[in-house]
């Protein structure tokens, strides 16, 4: 079966004062329908730029130099802005790291979410119907007392609750693909588990594919089917999560695994593993 998302030889450059910087350098990957693919790597490896390229939301100084990003066969890089507006939210939704930053601080959460839903529905949905749909979604993903939450301002809600609300919003238009860019890095470990369980269960139940961008290898291993390891704008290794973390082929993947405190018996063991890869970190 054809993949849902296929990225081929994607090159993105940043125009800097001292010449162009390659942020994506011949990136290729594919994602099947309903599959969960993790994109892991260090800061600056190009993970977020990959997600933003799919959404065509790159910063102004970025330039797509080559390659293609095909969603269900059609190249998003050739789509005009009007077509992209129909794709964003409806077919591909994105969840960002800082949910509070995505909500208007001086508007009630419910008002912001209704705006999003109405905009993606082409303005046909009434405000009342949009609110009802959002409240139902919040209930479905286990948020108690959804009507009261929708009346709150972002500052009145915890980071974890805001992120769960944004997950509900991402699923509101029944997308085929969710891009989650470090959705839990700002959350503590117990809230992280709650949010990840919720996000992945929602994807699985609805058959939605997920591109999960993270620097946390343990999270990727626990929640994803397949993993792409990125370094300097390229995929250095790709494979099923089970194999990649137990028998990595690339030295860089081994370095990332050894840097994790998880699984190490003592501090000495961990420190020795870190020292053995001195100089490899980007």
């Amino acid at each position: 079966m054809d993949p849902l998302l296929q990225i081929e030889d994607l090159a993105v450059r940043f125009d800097a004062e001292d010449g162009p910087v390659r942020v994506l350098d011949g990136l290729s990957l594919s994602l099947g329908r309903g599959e969960c693919l993790a994109l892991v790597g260090e800061s600056g490896s190009g993970k977020s730029m990959t997600g933003l390229s799919v959404m065509r939301l790159l910063p102004p100084q970025a330039r797509i130099a080559a390659g293609s990003v095909r969603l269900d066969g059609s190249d998003l890089l050739r789509a005009d802005e009007r077509a992209m507006r129909r794709i964003r939210g409806r077919r591909v939704a994105m969840i960002f790291q800082n949910a509070k930053a995505g909500l208007n601080p001086i508007r009630r959460v419910g008002d912001t979410l209704c705006d999003i839903l109405i905009a993606h529905d082409g303005g046909r949905l009434t405000r009342r119907a949009a609110r009802g749909r959002i409240a139902a979604l919040l209930g479905q993903i286990g948020i108690t007392d959804p009507e009261r939450r929708l009346e709150a301002y972002p500052s009145q809600l915890s980071g974890g609750l805001c992120q769960r609300i944004m997950i509900a919003a991402a699923f509101a238009c029944s997308p085929e693909l969710i891009i989650a860019d470090e959705p839990t890095s700002a959350l503590d470990v117990t809230t992280q588990k709650l949010v990840m369980d919720l996000l992945m269960a929602a994807c699985r139940e609805r058959g939605v594919a997920a591109l999960f961008i993270t620097h946390d290898l343990a999270l990727a291993s626990q929640y994803c089917d397949r993993v792409c390891v990125m370094r300097k704008g390229r995929v250095v290794e790709e494979g099923p999560a089970g194999r990649l973390f137990t028998a990595p082929a690339a030295a860089y993947t081994r370095m990332l695994i050894d840097a994790l405190p998880a699984g190490k018996g003592t501090a000495q063991e961990w420190r020795a593993a870190i020292r053995s890869h001195a100089g490899m970190s980007s």
């Binding site: 260090e42 800061s43 503590d188 470990v189 290898l217 343990a218 291993s221 405190p261 998880a262 961990w270």
Partner: protein, 279 residues
Amino acid sequence: MTVGPVRRVEAAAEAPPRRKLLEIGAVTKVYGPPGTGLRAVDGVSFHLREGEILGLVGESGSGKSTLARIIARLIPQTSGSVVFEDQDISGLSGRHFARTGQRRCIQMVFQDPLASLNPRFTAFRSIADPVRRLGTPAERAALPELVREAAHRAGLPESLLASMPHQLSGGQRARVDIARAIVLRPKLLILDEPTSALDASLQAHVVETLLSLRDASEMSYIFVTHDLSLVRLIADRLIVMHRGQLVETGTAGEIFRQPQHDYTRRLIAAIPTLGGTKT
């Protein structure tokens, strides 16, 4: 104060116990009006010995950062005592504490160096700032050497000392923050989630730097974090906080093998593991 099952692990050690550096006695912090305000820290007591690494763990809102700021005298406690090197510093405001000789002995490293470093200071000036403010005349005279030495100990290349914070990577900024904190050779370093914004490899290198520093200088650390998998490896002792209260204390091994409090069990269960059960 109601406290959960607190495991006492007082010096069953072979070596004679080291001197107590810090003693916290029933510290409480209430935000808002007394009685109805939020009890961010609620009657917490513990001590820290010289050269010890104490992990202070708990989820967001558990009061661990508030407690760290009280110890560093950045905010006052509502009640309770903070005794550092046998001197009660709990009555001192931040301004008065800054005039004592102990200010230089307690330094703090923050979670987000981009927010804690002055954006208009070069790395050199940020590291030099504590020397200018708190150093002796002899230290001020030797300022460039002290800054270079602190940068070296923190693993920051000398070539980056002229850089502004925005020109540095996350790991390099964390090292500037550490160099700034250690330049006056403090006795206690309070690290408030110093690596939570860093990816695993940078985190590993920053923690390795901190452990090497401790090996070389016998500094004591209070390591505030919600990352139990990290603190398990580096802390001599852990304190678990929940809703402002200390609910459990013990060595990392004891707490991981036999967590006494339900909250600690939940914290441990939530740690993602490589190759863990697919969720």
